[in-house]
């Protein structure tokens, strides 16, 4: 009996000692269940990509941010969900002067902020001037440089805001003076940087104005909360002018950085839509791309290679042409990128509005060898060793850049007999190296801000900060300048085509590799109101889940 009792005592003590931690663990979990806030489930949950850097329309530059900001703040125009072309937003109509340089916008009557105060022409002027103000430090202020004196105001050369080409004629009328006739200006008005923001809140709260409660918004959704790396919750703004057509009441935007996690959440029904092409796990691409809920579509962006033309032997256009002709781009899109991309011989993607690109150089190894021989390197003999730099993938990201680099290394070795070294750099170092022309060849990409050829072709003008090749061509600059001044769309296209011919057929400071595709995944039997378009932009107010029985 005594033995039994002792055994029991010991047993209970052992259990006490070792079980304590386990019991604590369980208690913690149970206690927490009581503490946690229960919130209404969202009508729609969207995985949006990484954590937005900001939701301030004047500051955002990335796709992730822009997709969220468009839901909160609207501009004079907004985007058509179907084709991403600009349609009337806060402005109900506008007139353009015959020379294309003066736009007169008429605001809708009875526009109000989500807090009830009226939205006026003065708010539009305030918002644009704020974005241009150097103190705001807006990275995208350049999009508003089409306004008269905007560039000088942004540079601090002009202090008087009344000289900037945007004025309120009365409460409902905004007059915009442009430097040049800018055919795509209504598209610029739909960009977040031209979004209308609440003056009083910003002046009172400074950089923390987005945390204001309540936050006055001009767009279809109000910001319920924004928790870093957790979620952004949006609720329908009942005072939005087009609120009757806002489809979903509550939308959650989840920031997810890892493609596998995004796919897991989607597959288990915790998210309805995943709309970032970075969020498709590369290893599963071949399988996923064949599924009906994976939607790939052409997208306004391309993958290309930059030469540093200030370094020998890449100062010789024959060498650059030879490099381009030796690449089998078809093989790269079939074997590496694999999402249905189209090989590119020119820089402006197919499908861009009012523009058809000239054909660039194709795949012709024979001619490539001949050009290289002409340049003094027959069979690659005597060609100096050089380096190709590319950026490291984000955590959990794909080794796309590395795989393309290896493929290029192989192709140039086999076809031209030259040796190339590869160097992978951490993203921030990579961009510094690129900006300071501290490379021979560099992986590059560009996505268009709006649907127009000049968002690609302006890049390679001599003074553009994004040129990053060292290439300067007076004739090219001249043609781009003339195109930008030209009000007639047909004549403008001609100038652009001549310029692009120099870029992709004669000079080649860059080699276009392929045009991007956008990838969204969602089940069309469950989700409506999202359409593939060239900007990969999907206005939130149009999207909704199909209710059962509908």
């Amino acid at each position: 009996m005594a033995i039994f009792q002792r055994a029991r005592r010991i047993f209970s003590r052992a259990r006490f000692c070792f079980g304590t931690a386990g019991v604590f663990f369980l208690c913690g979990v149970i206690l927490l269940s009581g503490c946690l806030r229960r919130e209404a489930p969202a009508d729609l949950t969207i995985i949006n990509g990484g954590e937005p850097e900001s939701l301030d329309p004047a500051i955002v530059t990335g796709q992730v941010e822009i997709r969220a900001v468009r839901g909160l703040f609207e501009g004079l125009t907004r985007l058509d969900p179907k084709n991403a072309r600009s349609i009337p937003g806060l402005a109900e109509s506008w007139e353009i002067s015959p020379d294309g340089r003066v736009y007169t916008f008429h605001l809708r009557p009875n526009l109000t902020w989500s807090t009830g105060e009226p939205i006026t022409a003065g708010d539009v002027v305030y918002s644009w001037v704020r974005a241009l103000n150097p103190a705001t430090a807006s990275g995208y202020a350049g999009l508003l440089f089409y306004l008269k004196n905007a560039r000088d105001f942004n540079a601090g050369k002009i202090k008087d805001t009344s000289l900037v080409g945007v004025q309120a004629l009365d409460q409902f009328t905004v007059r915009v003076d442009l430097d040049q006739p800018t055919a795509f200006f209504p598209d610029v008005c739909a960009m977040p940087v031209a979004g209308v923001v609440p003056r009083q809140t910003i002046e009172k709260q400074g950089d923390r104005w987005l945390m204001a409660k309540p936050l006055p918004v001009s767009g279809p959704y109000e910001l319920v909360y924004w928790r870093l790396n957790d979620k952004i919750r949006l609720r329908k703004n009942p005072r939005y002018w087009d609120a009757v057509n806002t489809q979903s009441k509550i939308i959650d935007l989840l920031p997810v950085g890892s493609p596998n996690t995004a796919l897991n959440l989607y597959e288990c029904g915790q998210a309805d839509i995943v709309w970032d092409k970075e969020l498709v796990p590369g290893q599963l691409l071949d399988v996923l791309i064949r599924r009906p809920d994976f939607h790939a579509f052409s997208y306004l962006g391309d993958y290309f290679i930059r030469f540093n033309v200030t370094r020998k032997p890449f100062d010789d256009p024959r060498v650059r042409r030879a490099f381009a002709l030796a690449i089998d781009k078809e093989r790269i899109v079939k074997k590496i990128s694999r999402a249905g991309e189209q090989p590119a011989s020119h820089i402006v993607p197919d499908g861009t509005a009012h523009y058809t690109s000239p054909e660039g150089l194709g795949h012709d190894p024979e001619r490539a060898r001949k050009l290289l021989a002409e340049a003094g390197y027959p069979g690659g003999r005597g060609f100096p060793r050089f380096e190709y730099v590319f950026s490291a993938p984000a955590s959990g990201g794909d080794k796309l850049h590395e795989n393309i680099a290896i493929e290029l290394q192989q192709m140039w070795h086999d076809e031209l007999g030259i040796q190339m070294d590869l160097r992978q750099l951490e993203a921030k170092i990579f961009y510094t190296v690129q900006a300071h022309l501290d490379f021979d060849l560099s992986r590059s990409s560009w996505t268009g801000d709006y649907d127009d050829a000049n968002t690609f072709l302006d890049l390679f003008t001599s003074d553009d900060g994004n040129n990053r090749t060292g290439w300067k061509n007076a004739q090219y600059d001249e043609l781009i300048g003339r195109a930008n001044r030209e009000p007639d769309l047909k004549a403008r296209e001609k100038f652009f085509q001549q310029a692009e011919t120099i870029l992709v057929r004669d000079e080649l400071p860059i080699i276009p590799l392929y045009f991007y595709v956008g990838i969204n995944y969602y089940d069309t039997n469950k989700i409506q109101g999202i359409y593939p378009n060239i900007l990969d932009c999907h206005p939130l107010q149009a999207i909704h889940k199909i209710k059962t029985g509908e």
Binding site: L32, S54, G139, G142, L265, S395
Partner: protein
């Protein structure tokens, strides 16, 4: 007195750590505003740098940072420009701490019993099996364990959610994935501790007095055997509480571990320095707690 001195000594130590972190992250090439897309004009770039005082000499920036810190302000994130570092810590740290505490509970709750029984059944099959499992837990990294757990518990058997951090059900897999390594480590440490304690003279003396084996192990050997685990648990707790990049990333948990790693990749200077400081503070604090626990557990230990 001893502990008071330790706390006072921590202040210059933290200063050195912050200065080092500040200098190192500024030394790294590239800055917070270098990206694929250059600003439209050099003026915009200048305005950006002026706004965040990045044009000033580094020592001046450091002094400015310390001045703000003295007011309890860690500064503004350069990457997430609408948020302060205080926001990031206030939102992320509680989540990471909860995750870490649960993982700690799991590591102790599993590690100690396994260590105890493998030591008590030394050289028999429970010892081999337990030791094998503990070694396995130490060897298999979190980025393998977590997807495997998700694959079976969430996708195949549909028992638990694949990610996010909302209900108690969401809080089971991540602590297990995070704590498994530490559970293995604790089990091994505790087994070793038990074995050496069982050979010590006071245990032999107690055994000679006729004390029962289980009582002997629990009452006498335990207190000495657990010491290595206690000293290990200080840094372990600091590690667990500041979050795990891998686990938070895989399970989509809004903790601070993701920031700890990404901020240095983003050259988010203020966040890097502040989170390093936070980590250092926790580490120092936990070690202090460990040393204090020593005096309670082992009567032979005294600090002057």
């Amino acid at each position: 007195m001893y502990f008071l001195r330790r706390i006072l000594f921590a202040v210059p130590l933290l200063l050195v750590i912050s200065a080092l972190a500040f200098a190192l992250v500024h030394l790294a090439p590239g800055g917070p505003f270098d990206r694929e897309r250059a600003p439209a004009s050099p003026e915009i770039e200048r305005a950006l740098k002026a706004k965040y005082h990045l044009g000033e000499p580094v020592w001046k920036q450091y002094c400015r940072y310390l001045g703000d810190l003295a007011h309890g302000d860690f500064g503004v994130s350069l990457k997430y420009r609408n948020h302060t570092v205080n926001d990031i810590i206030a939102q992320g740290l509680p989540v990471s701490m909860l995750l870490g505490a649960l993982a700690f509970g799991f590591a102790m709750g599993v590690g100690l019993p396994v260590g105890f029984f493998t030591a008590a059944r030394r050289g028999r099959w429970p010892d081999y099996a337990g030791s094998f499992l503990a070694t396995l837990a130490v060897c298999v990294p979190g980025f393998v364990v977590a997807p495997l757990l998700i694959l079976f518990f969430s996708i195949k058997w549909k028992l638990l959610p694949v990610g996010l951090w909302e209900t108690p059900w969401h809080m089971i897999l991540p602590p297990v994935a995070l704590g498994l390594f530490f559970a293995g480590k604790v089990a091994r440490l505790f087994r070793e501790g038990m074995l050496s304690a069982m050979q010590s003279e006071f245990v032999t003396a107690a055994r000679a007095k006729g004390l029962g084996e289980n009582r002997l192990l629990l009452r006498h050997a335990f207190r000495i055997a657990v010491l290595p685990v206690v000293s290990y648990s200080g840094p372990m707790l600091a590690d667990l509480l500041t979050g795990s990049f891998v686990i938070e990333n895989i399970f989509q948990i809004p903790g601070i571990g993701v920031f700890l790693v990404n901020s240095s990749l983003n050259r988010d200077y203020t966040v890097v320095v502040s989170l390093s400081l936070l980590y250092a503070m926790l580490l120092i604090g936990m070690n202090l707690v460990v040393d204090f626990a020593y005096t309670r557990l082992d009567p032979r230990v005294k600090y002057e």
